[in-house]
Symmetry: C2
Subunit: 208 residues, 2 copies
Amino acid sequence: MSPKTQEPQVISITDLHPAQAKWVSLKKVDFIDQTGTARTWEVAVRKTTPKAGVDAVAMGNIFMHPSKPPSTLLVLQYRPPIGKYTVEWPAGLVDEHETPEEAAVREMKEETGYDGKVFDVSPVLASDPGMTNSTIKLVMVEVKLSGEEDFMPEQRLDDGELIERVMVPLDELYERLMKWANQDNYMVAAKLFYFAAGVNFAKKGGYI
Amino acid sequence: MSPKTQEPQVISITDLHPAQAKWVSLKKVDFIDQTGTARTWEVAVRKTTPKAGVDAVAMGNIFMHPSKPPSTLLVLQYRPPIGKYTVEWPAGLVDEHETPEEAAVREMKEETGYDGKVFDVSPVLASDPGMTNSTIKLVMVEVKLSGEEDFMPEQRLDDGELIERVMVPLDELYERLMKWANQDNYMVAAKLFYFAAGVNFAKKGGYI
């Protein structure tokens, strides 16, 4: 990982014409609704959707250790769209000729250094369907630790990726996310928060 | 609700210049990263972020009934960005002078017809931080039914909103989402799925 020498700084934010964009385009969808009325919708469209038909994978990861509680590895990274550090599960775009499972194992290795074993794959899910066509699969992966590891393994980050890793016991996940959310320079990613909220909701047992 | 007379149909999808868009813009962020390197990022930006500093609220709703299991009301609606019907919790944009709690009660009433009582509000969360600056709060609301309601109350939908409501027992939520996900013309929203996956994960008790 490159040395962290300064806080990231936004220099300028300027209009981008869709034709000049590489990753994201802006489109107007003209459609006829259920009543026969003509309507329009503005959509941010991913330009890179691969053959697998899903843009991204996120790795809901579970670390098992012989003497420590089951934990999950979160990644903290500066996200220019937000202008803050986000707290997320490792995630990445699916490459053109990959399956989502392959992308999950590859991205897990790149962002965390660990070899994960896939044990569950979600259906294709809509990331933010009021605004984008972006889709994601939640891929659950398990990592078994021997207990003899002294350090986290080296990451294999792409140029420009600077990703900090934090291991969190699963039964503290919700509380830890709340702590990050209360810090000005951090924002928790919605999907991870919803998972933790679901776990917390079930554990409290009030309604289930 | 207007009569549903036909399946929605996309007529055209065309490039939209950011200056002509009302709701969503496309921007190029120039920034300096932690190593001092100049980089750029393409971002879909909401144009309507209100004073409250959060774009949207979603209502994680719990319906209590004297003789039925605790349930949650989901909304099914055609989403042009996806070109399918999505399965989501009720949600909407926060108006300019509203608090997120006020928006949650208002949108719950509009989309479902029910008066909800807010019992928990999440921090500001990043909806899809690799691609957009869009943010959301998960607002948990409770609706107490007397058991004497024969029908669902009338919705107060905006022009163009066509929203179907489906009540699902909470302990069947994950399985019901999986069933929708297996139908070609439906897609489950990621955040709702993550919540259900969290509940399911905790209930199975394998790792918690």
